[in-house]
């Protein structure tokens, strides 16, 4: 059952953790991606944070486009089509997969693993995408912005760090907002998965014992929370959501209850299915395999 918190003037939110409930809420007509900021100060602050994820000319990042936005569907379809050539794409980022495999296998990396992940993700869009410590720092700034407490958020904004990070990500993404989203926000889940893989691999002889498919299931991570808002009040299943409730979909929490289904992390089959729902599991499997190969070769 969802946890609903209402403090008039401060917050009106619902935290949804049950997988079935989460899918129902995600699919409900009254629940939208765009946030009005109504419902309380907290709701307003979350909405204000998300408004920065736009191109300088006002274009909306694809992951924040609403369900009925014709461009969302078009972007989603074209990106999914582009990312469906999994073998070719994995071949394209083979050096990064090898580097990540080395990292998972326990070797010291000469640069942040996040930079490698960012470059791998960026090269899915542009073969010559070049990530750097600075571009990864920009991504981390944007990730921090999304979940920062008010003081830190204020500092990020006032110091210009937020603007600089957005500019850097958008420049590196050459105006491709799907690439910007992937290399700034979405990549964080892959970074977490790789870290988990490294922990898993370094424990006993897991690397040899565990098959890539199983390693994937044990290390795949979904976004911790995805935000939505109810435009109007309604009953969704057994939950009564009032109008202007900020809905936090605890995707990672719910995924752990459906650990056997990797598609859950990507909303596979839902209207907002991640276009990389096939690619990311394959990427992670290949990284594990690369780590095993290196270990075998090293032995």
């Amino acid at each position: 059952m969802a946890l609903i918190i209402t403090i008039p003037g401060l917050v009106r939110l619902a935290l949804v953790r049950n997988p079935d409930e989460l899918l129902r809420v995600n699919d409900a007509a009254v629940v939208t991606r765009s946030l009005s900021g109504r419902g309380g100060l907290f709701n307003r602050s979350v909405a204000a944070k998300l408004t920065v994820f736009r191109a300088p000319d006002g274009d909306i990042w694809p992951a924040f486009r609403d369900r009925h936005d014709p461009l969302r569907a078009a972007h989603q379809a074209s990106l999914e089509s582009a990312l469906s050539k999994i073998d070719a794409l994995l071949q394209q980022i083979a050096p990064e997969i090898t580097e990540l495999g080395n990292y998972v296998g326990g070797r010291r990396a000469h640069r942040s693993m996040g930079v490698v992940v960012q470059q791998a993700v960026g090269r899915l869009f542009f073969p010559d995408y070049l990530a750097s410590e600075e571009s990864y720092a920009a991504a981390r700034t944007l990730q921090a912005w999304s979940s920062a407490w008010p003081l830190r958020a204020a500092w990020l904004r006032r110091s210009g760090a937020l603007k600089a990070a957005l500019d850097r990500i958008q420049t590196a993404s050459r105006g491709n907002m799907a690439c910007a989203h992937a290399t700034a926000l979405a990549m964080n889940n892959i970074v977490k998965s790789i870290e988990l893989m490294r922990e898993l691999a370094l424990h006993g002889d897991n690397l040899a014992k565990i098959e890539p498919k199983d390693a994937l299931l044990r290390t795949l991570r979904a976004p911790a929370r995805v935000v939505r808002e109810t435009r109007d009040g309604d009953f969704i299943g057994l939950i009564r959501l009032r109008s202007r409730t900020l809905v936090l979909l605890a995707v990672e929490n719910a995924r752990q209850q459906r650990a056997s289904d990797p598609g859950f992390a990507f909303f596979a089959g839902a209207w907002n299915q991640c276009p990389a729902h096939g690619l990311v599991p394959a990427l992670l499997s290949n990284v594990w395999q690369a780590a095993r190969t290196r270990a075998t070769a090293g032995a």
Partner: protein, 612 residues
């Protein structure tokens, strides 16, 4: 600078910020309409500032840049382009409707929900007129007037047959069998906007206004140069009229007069178009006398400016206070036009102040978005209940009445009806008849089964419901919230009309958030003296001022070099009553003692007003 608002930013002054806080506190305890007149009026100006800041949204222009023509700097172009010399596409014919709410709020329901509950059921159960409910403070000219004005401001075009909505009909529905398709009523969709969409529009649908958005009397003069040339006599700047002084017939539109915009034609529109065509021609005579060297074009365009401003003035300080009879509103509308006549206030606030000197002649300002009529504005102007099903046609020179049906006074039958009954008697009859009250259960029944040339049989009430839904206008409760009012939690909070809350609860399955905007507006309990709902009025507060403030011909260019001294005096010294008496002096006794020409006139012979 974001493309979203084309660079326009709202600047709030310190005084406005202080007043905003003060009135938030005051309104916590007292509603604006319960305040003393001056405070109430100040409260309205605070509402307007809030709305100017938060409730203007650009949706892109949807047009290509227009070409420059001689005179665009001095007078109104035919299509409304170059009103803003910096943004020539702003408000021109063919430009998109804007929005009053953030674009993500203006997204239609998904297909499954769009037709729920059935618009036809709402038409039959909540809107259909049982017995005529009159608006006793108004005459029928007020109803014709608002249609006359909306024909100036907007048109979505005539829907074409393609991918119609199919509304399932319940057993026992009286909708004619031969009009049904698969047991459903068909409703054509609004003409789609096929211009390239800007990516920041998101899921918000856009539609184009075929008319110029400006308050430029486009209903008389048309919204393109070709139409303008068709209606002109091409001599002395005048509009073509026949030997009987009446507008000629439009050969392309049987039954209608040849004028700028003559869709949905009926006798009420014909009366007002003829009246203001005559006014235009009289203004031309006045200009010709003073400026004998001016050619036809110069005379026509200057007369148009003057006539359009006079119509705007009549609307602002006569029609609006007529239908919204509240002292604070009356005071505010007069202040909108000419300011508050207080020397101290004028000295303190300065000559650019709207409050002190009025919007007219103040600096042009678009506030937070480029000027455009909005979808929400068109939605709150769904005032069909004003139209009666029947009316009594009187003769000014004889007793007795002839009972006529409105359906026989419209479309192809209009000109014939006008010829039979005459301009003078029909004006008198309109002045002495009541329109309907803008309430539930008062939608004219002839419009609920309406035959229109080139269209399938129409249920206008159901169509009104569908239009708001398909255009993504928020439903009633969210609309309230977005104009700065509290959401309601129960149906009883909306209305005290006997039985209405119960019916609404049944139709909307107990979900008050699903109540359609038009239903909510018609059901809502009204402030004292108001002819329509307070929620709709919030949009009026914003847009009525905006039509003036955004238009350089009412602001920066409201000056003698553009209008002539004669023109400014003409606007200053005239109103609806003087226009009526100038062209139809026989109405003198009927208008004797009548302060507002949209209030009921004196019945000279026969039975007096039923209500008196």
């Amino acid at each position: 600078m974001s493309r979203e608002n084309d660079g326009f930013v709202f600047h709030r002054g310190l005084l406005q910020a202080v007043l905003d806080v003060a009135f938030r506190v005051i309104n916590f305890f007292v509603r604006w309409d319960h305040l003393p007149t001056l405070l109430g009026s100040a409260n309205l100006s605070v509402f307007r500032e809030r709305l100017r800041e938060h409730n203007l949204r650009h949706t892109g222009y949807g047009t290509t840049p227009p070409g420059w023509s001689t005179g665009n700097d001095r007078w109104r172009s035919a299509d409304g382009s170059f009103n803003s010399l910096d943004h020539p596409r702003m408000g021109m014919a063919g430009a998109r409707f804007g929005r009053n709410f953030p674009l993500p709020e203006c997204v239609p329901d998904s297909v499954d929900d769009l037709l729920e509950p059935s618009p036809r059921v709402i038409s039959m159960e909540l809107l259909a007129r049982d017995t005529f409910i009159p608006a006793t403070s108004l005459n029928l000219l007020a109803a014709a007037w608002i249609q006359f004005e909306t024909h100036n401001w907007f048109s979505h075009g005539v829907p074409e047959p393609e991918n119609e909505f199919k509304i399932p009909l319940k057993t026992g529905d009286t909708w004619p069998e031969d009009e049904r398709v698969d047991g459903c009523m068909k409703i054509r969709r609004t003409v789609p906007d096929r211009t390239p969409r800007e990516p920041w529009l998101g899921a918000t649908p856009t539609f184009r206004n075929l008319n110029s958005h400006w308050w430029d009397a486009g209903q008389i003069y048309g919204s393109d140069r070709d139409r303008q040339m068709q209606i002109r006599s091409k001599a002395d700047g005048k509009i073509e009229v026949g030997s009987d002084g009446m507008l000629p017939a439009d050969p392309a539109h049987p039954g209608a007069d040849l004028t700028g915009f003559n869709d949905n034609w009926w006798v009420g529109l014909s009366l007002l178009h003829n009246l203001f065509a005559r006014e235009h021609n009289v203004i031309c005579d006045g200009l010709k006398t003073r400026y004998p060297t001016w050619n036809d074009e110069e005379l026509f365009q200057r007369a148009r400016l003057i006539n359009a401003a006079l119509i705007a003035k009549i609307h602002t300080i006569e029609w609006t206070p007529g239908i919204l009879g509240h002292p604070a509103l009356d005071f505010s509308m007069r202040a909108n036009w000419s300011g508050i006549p207080c020397r101290v206030l004028r000295a303190v606030l300065g000559e650019n102040s709207e409050a002190a000197y009025g919007i007219i002649r103040s600096p042009t300002d678009q506030h937070s978005a480029p000027y455009a009529m909005t979808e929400e504005f068109t939605a709150v102007y769904r005032l069909h209940p004003l139209i009666p099903d029947d009316m009594d046609v009187r003769r000014i020179d004889a007793a007795g009445v002839e009972h006529c049906k409105l359906v026989d006074m419209q479309g192809r039958a209009t000109r014939k009806f006008m010829e039979t009954h005459g301009f003078v008697d029909l004006l008198y009859s309109f002045g002495t008849a009541h329109p309907g009250a803008i309430r539930l259960h008062n939608y004219p029944n002839f419009l609920r089964q309406f035959e229109k040339d080139g269209q399938p049989l129409l249920d206008m009430a159901a169509i009104d419901i569908v239009r708001d839904r398909e255009r993504g206008v928020p439903r009633y409760n969210r609309f309230r919230e977005l104009v700065g009012k509290q959401r309601v939690k129960t149906f009883e909070e909306i209305t005290s009309i006997p039985g209405a809350a119960k019916k609404m609860r049944a139709i909307y399955k107990g979900d008050v958030d699903r109540v359609d905007l038009m239903v909510g507006l018609l059901a809502e309990d009204l402030p004292d003296g108001f002819g329509f709902s307070d929620s709709a009025f919030r949009i009026f507060i914003l847009m009525a001022s905006r039509r003036l403030k955004s238009d350089r011909f009412f602001t920066d260019d409201y000056r003698a070099e553009i209008y002539t001294d004669f023109g400014l005096d003409w606007i200053q010294n005239n109103g609806m009553k003087s226009v009526l008496l100038r062209h139809v002096p026989q109405l003198g006794p009927a208008l004797e003692g009548v302060n507002n020409a949209f209030a009921p006139w004196n019945v000279l012979r026969g039975s007096a007003w039923p209500s008196s």
